[in-house]
Symmetry: D2
Subunit: 384 residues, 4 copies
């Protein structure tokens, strides 16, 4: 179950502003999803048409998902949303406002939050080409097992019963949902925990590669390892602080300290592509000449490639397995999409950085310097 569902269910006062029903819906759905172990994908953003314009200003303004009609038993919605990851393998889909792009009142028709089962009539997922090519776990160790899929979601006049609606045509509530339900806090906590383990896995891969080809004595290689280690320790310290400082929120939900999490979720997309680059650089030509499992099984060339690809401490078969893992983290369609995905996880890092700056409590630091400036022996001249 998504962190958003829990957050909306527990901190649902916001939704009451429009109608008490919406708060009850959020709470009820949370309990339903929790008790029935419902898996959800979510869709957070509008299609990328013209980024200079608000949604209602787009030339084909009805293309994006919007409210068509309110009926006695529910609403009709129509249009397109991006970008449901794991769309095909979950039970339901949550339509949720974006974290990064505040909308004005004219965007009210696009301001929606609701949930529907994936097999709802009129709902379709248009998936990209799969990056799982039916290769073995030796050849494609990650893409053969962890391909997620990304899908464009099309709502063809889909009916959503009222009890599954949380926000209906209200941009003001949408803009505040992520923050005021603490959804952003709980999502961030999940993400930062995931990023710690992801960095550990990447570090382990890099270290094994260093060992295998005997490059761990070079200064610049050590330094690249240190870069990853410092990133890992930074994420660990943020996660630790957020958990040690956790408090009960107004709904009684244990809530991590957002200051550290917010720093972590803004920091990670800025460095993650560099971590992947380090793995790529250290892999070097070992990421180019990568025979497949079938080559090793071949009576004709198996022994040749096993010898040809040997490394300092590994047989060719073992070393290619390691480098294929590195390739599947960096250069395969799966691996490079993963990197891109992390970069844009919470939205455009440029816009996130602006939002981070705006919400930061700046006054104490300004005041600190202003106080210092008062401590001068200079006498202010009288210019009156």
């Amino acid at each position: 179950m998504n962190a958003e569902v829990m957050a909306m269910g527990m901190n649902n006062e916001l939704f009451k502003e429009a109608d008490p029903m919406f708060a009850d819906n959020a709470r009820a759905y949370y309990e339903y999803a929790r008790e029935n172990d419902i898996s959800l994908t979510h869709t957070l953003i509008h299609p990328q048409v013209n980024r200079e314009k608000a949604q209602h200003e787009q030339k084909d303004a009805n293309m994006a998902l919007h409210l068509v009609e309110k009926k006695s038993d529910g609403i009709i919605v129509d249009g397109v949303r991006l970008l449901a990851t794991q769309g095909g393998i979950t039970d339901e889909i949550l339509v949720f406002p974006s974290t990064v792009k505040p909308a004005g009142e004219l965007d009210d028709p696009y301001s929606l939050a609701f949930v529907v089962p994936n097999n709802t009539e009129g709902l379709s997922f248009i998936s990209r080409e799969s990056f799982d090519q039916n290769k073995s776990t030796y050849d494609h160790p990650l893409s053969s097992r962890f391909e997620e899929g990304d899908a464009i979601v099309h709502f063809d006049n889909v009916f959503v019963p009222w009890e599954k609606v949380f926000v209906c045509g209200n941009s003001s509530i949408c803009n505040r949902t992520f923050k005021e339900t603490n959804a952003v806090v709980h999502m961030s906590h999940q993400v930062v925990a995931k990023n710690v383990i992801k960095t550990e896995f990447l570090l382990g891969t890099v270290l094994n590669i260093m060992d295998s080809i005997g490059i761990d004595g070079f200064q610049h290689v050590k330094d690249k390892g240190t870069e990853i280690m410092l990133t890992l320790e930074t994420m660990k310290s943020h996660l630790y602080r957020s958990e040690q400082n956790a408090t009960l929120d107004r709904s009684g939900t244990m809530t991590p300290d957002f200051e550290a999490l917010n720093a972590a979720r803004n920091y990670y997309p800025r460095v993650y592509p560099r971590l992947v680059e380090i793995l790529r650089i250290l892999g070097a030509s070992g990421l180019m000449g990568i025979p497949s499992e079938a080559d090793f099984q071949s009576p004709e060339i198996g022994m040749i490639v096993n010898r040809a690809l040997q490394s300092k401490n590994l047989q060719g078969y073992e070393r290619v397995q390691l480098f294929r893992l590195a390739w599947d983290m960096t250069l395969s369609a799966f691996g490079s999409r993963q990197m891109h995905y992390e970069y844009y996880f919470f939205g455009d890092p440029i816009k996130m950085g602006m939002a981070y700056f705006d919400q930061y409590d700046k006054e104490p630091y300004k005041q600190y310097v202003q106080d210092f400036l008062q401590q001068t022996t200079a006498v202010k001249p009288n210019f009156s």
Copy 2:
């Protein structure tokens, strides 16, 4: 025909040091290749086993390609070499010394330069998995057409007739071949010309993407465009200077000015991954939700995706074609391998940077500052 073949053929005095025959061989092969339009792949480096050690120190020292026996009519060579690009689609293969790793005398057995046809007995190419997945030119616009292949080359006691041998077991000559034949100059000229056009193509793709989703008014987007433009202009200026300053070398071959080319070939690998990153960043979610040609042809969803993926100035069908091109330059297995390939084109940029520093004419600049330091009114104290 490779630039190396021309260079070795024209500036072949170096090979005479071992035997005049080798110089004649180089000249004869150049003429043969030129007149018969022979296409060649080449292999420049030893397998990546333990990078801390010289070739003869490796635990399985006979695995790398080495001289086995000199016979009256030729030589027997055995072992493995990396990394023949386009191995399967050329006529012959040139074994050539690496530009970046000087060898000592103990590496003499590995110090070879020769050419053989690709169908020579005992010679085999062990190719990596193909990145051409038989997709259409719409879906995979580059990988469907320009996949090059990378192959490990295995010589199983291959016989090379003397007339195709240019260097035989002589590390000193091998170490000097790239430079003293001007092979490095002519290769650099080809590469820099290629890099100019490659950068132009990448810039064009970026600019079309900016137009398509209306992001070209944002300051940081413009600045990313400017980064690419400045790189392009730098490469153009280097290429221009190298050509305008070209002179006839001692063999009468028109030879570009290496100073500018050497700067260009050291500069480009340092910035090219960033250019690809810019394209990836600007593509954003448009590189994730990419339906295929079949989706657009589908009676059920063709019109939906055409509408859903529309952009500021393009229909969905056109815009996805553009973004699939960007994807195939950045995130597909083909595109990310291209980037990796450019980064390592002439060898490890770290080692190239060290070699560049060493060969640079530093004295005039040192002297310039020492002259300045003399122009002081200070009187040197007498410490005797």
Copy 3:
């Protein structure tokens, strides 16, 4: 004499748009300055008050230099301009429009170009604290000799005779002056030539420091040297291309190729602070423990410091002289201001980057990619 004066004098048609007199003035002043070897400072920008607003929107809009009155024999101007470098040591001052900030019609009163002698009544230069501290050429090798001064220029109802006025209250002409007179080309040529020699001097200093303390064998040290060398070669290639491609402009003035110069002047501010940083990093603790000339002359401690500060190849006295030069290029008030000055030489690099993007000829590259996209076997579906 400034490049702008020549450019305005030769390509003066622009000024005729307001009155033929202005074109004649520009030509006459150019000839006068050339024949009488007049040295000029210039002032290009308005005071930095509120950067979000245009000049006429500022709360104290009359503070910036503006036109007060047109009289029969000249104009009265009043207010403040930034930032006259070398203000105190030139003959005259040129008020000139900024390269980077286009003005609208409401900024007409601020849109001026004229020249006056520095001793004009009502004109004053308010200088910053001097960074020349009367130290010896040993202690402060650069700041003792090359301090330029930066001054705020105050015009207290200054009278400028018509014959020294080139633009008077016309924002349209002001906005176009830099480009249409080719002033920007000739200024860029001077600046890029200066940047080449400045980089050579910095490279020489770095290389002497490497030698002196025996660090030139370390990989990361070599690489830092290579960074400087690649920058130098880039600037040389741009300068070379601009000169080899020079043509006569419409006034018959030999004019370098702006494409290469424009790239160079946008590139250099982006890398120059890094070059200074490299010198600082390599200097390390040698930039902290820097005794003075007087210490070496002292009978008590002269020999001690000469021994204590010795380096691999220099006596302490010589080595400290070298490191003091490096200090005066990086860490002294003079040196760090130099770096800041280069960074902002032509204006804010952020705004320059945006302007560069806008003026770049983008169409050929867009078209190149569009042509490629046409070369697909895919058949465009019919969505009508």
Copy 4:
């Protein structure tokens, strides 16, 4: 009192390896310094002569501080050490081994740890030129108050009584002192706490500048603020984790968690110069045109500069005070030396990075990936 003195006093078993006396000395001195509030400078490194060589290999090997003679009541030491900050304003000086450069046995004579009062006979401090120029707290707000001084320390056959000696001619003990006494932990804790407050002060200065000239709405300006904020939060999280995880060490001393501190002290020098650069960039021309207190007090020009230098929300007098502070943090000799000092605080970041890599506990991460690689369905071929 220095953290090292406490650490050596409490965790002194190491010194017993040579003689129990040394452990007692360390403990006694710690108590003496604590009870008498002794302030100390310290000197950690040898002179920078030829960095490719060990100390005993230097051409003038006796120039560095070394043991001359052991006597019944103490030792005679002679030679030069770097770099005592605040040398002239403390009570005593601690000679202490460097953190970063392990020494071999041949460097035993240079392997010393002891303490002497600053007025000991034969001890002299050779100071660099002062960066306090007797300017007012308005003109030079930091250099007028916080100049620290850096001094070369010369020992002319200085006598050190045995009770002030902790390590005497033992490279093995010297190499381990920082780590095994926990000196590095307590120093790191002090330093990281200082870095937090330093970053807060820098952030406050940047924010006040943004307000004063109205640039805080620009995206790239916000992003630069975000960079500083993320650095601050990283340092805070590391400090928090180190303190929350503090434990009693074997001597009963409360000792922070070194993992987080070690990351913090390696991270900060890598980013601090960038923070200073951000302040410099945002200050822009406001850091060039900086009149002095005297200008504002002047009857002739005081009102002019007060008006000319006004900003969005400040009078000229106030705004120049703020920008002079920024100048004294970035471009003055004091400010740029501060930045250099932070960069090299614990030694060369390059060497620190290598040491960090070496000491990091890498096994769990390697094992994690090796375990994953075992989870394949591929059957290992039999090549025997």
